[in-house]
Amino acid sequence: MTRIYISRDSGALCVGAESVAEKFRKEAKDRGLDVEIVRTGSRGMYWLEPLVEVETPQGRVGYGPVKASKVGNLIEAGMLEGKPHKKCIGVVDDYPWFKNQTRLTFARCGIVDPRSLEDYRAHKGYEGLKKALAVGPEATVEEVLASGLRGRGGAGFPTGIKWRTVAQTPPQQKYIVCNADEGDSGTFADRMIMEGDPFVLIEGMTIAGMAVGATYGYIYLRSEYPHAFETLKIAIEEARKAGFLGDNVAGSKYAFDMEVRLGAGAYVCGEETSLLDSLEGKRGEVRAKPPLPAHVGLFGQPTIINNVLSLATVPIIMSDGGEFYRDFGMGKSRGTMPIQLAGNIKHGGLYETAFGITLGALVDDIGGGTYSGRPVRAVQVGGPLGAYFPRELFDTPFDYEAFTAADGLIGHGGIVVFDDTVDMAKMARFAMEFCAIESCGKCTPCRIGSARGMELMDKIMAGEEREANLVVLEDLCDTMKWGSLCALGGFTPYPVMSALHHFPEDFGAGKKRLEAAE
């Protein structure tokens, strides 16, 4: 029997993986071949999707991108024996783009069948929980602290400190909430984990529950991810059936169970306090802090709220040790970051690597430059609230502090590449427009500021009192940055101001203004 692997990740489905799998099924049947098709997550090399891998004695040999209409030709060329072909990339594990990564959080993604608990356990699954149960709650929190793991959602707050705060609250109903409202353009790492290795997230949440004394968890998933919703529901049911969720987790004295809840298209619900309000059945409006969710969170109870990637990294920290994880990275940015290469880029996909790699290496070397073949002009890092970087800043290392120093943020790790046809004034206007569409409306700088910002950009782009309006724009951004209740209004100035400072010519600002600014 020959085993082949085809992804069922949305990123593969969106370029035709389903019809490729269907065609393989049909061809195998017509030709009387004994072929088993395993549906996996994605390896994250999306320009090669639909990628078909064939199990051979040398390892899994990849072919991609495969068109359904070419499946017959590939079989005739001997792909089921792993024979060379112009679409063949060799053994996938040895393919440089894949091999050069440090896959810790994504160790299994693209390799296992995401719906199979057996497959998960055959690939080190649930070893983190085993270790956590063996060392107990306090040592588990210490291990996460020691790893240096920081919140991967964007804020970069140390995960272990959140955990310790909740662990120190008196025993009562506590909750684990997973923020799976991945709304930033240019990001898809959460989606990949949930569709490609959902058990690692379930395991991470279970460990969190045990560590802080929480017995119930919610995954708040955006409604734009129907495939992730389906996979998560299946995985949770499998985990429950096998006793990894329930009254006695893995036969221990700890109880933990969980469910997935769907959002309803509000970007702001990715902000943790508005997410909590949404889970409670209210409008997703931002809460003032303090109190912190760790003290007064979901339904007023102590709550850990972590991003998908933070929670999905916990199992490997527990199984291999906090020190092992901390040894990757630089400065205060420890471990690895799943970086997402997106936009107008040749090699779009997920690249997990230790912190410290430069922006230029990511865009030019790993990303291969633009898909359009035109020069890279700007990249936006960290989603719609992240700054635009010009080529001059490509030596910035990927690190929380280095990006802050360059007036930007790494956010959730998305990089969107633009070629030289981009109009940066238009992008600045869009940042304001997006903020106006998605503002929860609770605080004035965000609600009113974004609308006024759009109007200002219209005037600037039309050449109306340009110099005076640019001054007003900077002033408005200052107000939004310091006066908004959360990152939506507070960070919208990043794309606007970075576009203005690095690309003043697109705003019709003369060279004089540029010099004056410096």
């Binding site: 969106c14 370029v15 999306y46 991945e182 809840r261 997703g284």
Partner: protein
Amino acid sequence: MPRYEPWTPERASEIIARHQDEKGATLPILHDLQAAFGCVPLDAEPLIADALNISRAEVHGCVTFYHDFRREPAGRRTLKLCLAESCQASGVGALEKRCKEKLGVEMGGTTADRRVTLEAVYCLGLCHSSPAAMLDHDVYGALDEERLDALLKEAQA
């Protein structure tokens, strides 16, 4: 292919009752009502308020806060075109124009034959293969004019 049930308060109450004992049940109820009726009619709001022991204003505020909930059913199929940064960088602007022209509607509009509703969405998480779109729950990436035309044809079929 969505085919919606006719609105009846009895059916709505039945759906609401399924979630009544859940914590923070509002969103699950609204999602299920919309799945059944294609929208959340105004008449559903007092029923939800009664069942959850919250004010009608709270329910109304919730329904109107979220982009997903609609007052009128969408067309037979819903085409969501991503207009976020990654897709903009990959030329969705021209495709958006083409969509509107071919369907004869603006963003948020439904074609006269009620076959297709066109909506803007801000990120489908397929930014590695921008521009991207979603037809009901099916995803499409790496769109160009040719692929978009095929998608529009499927949507209108």
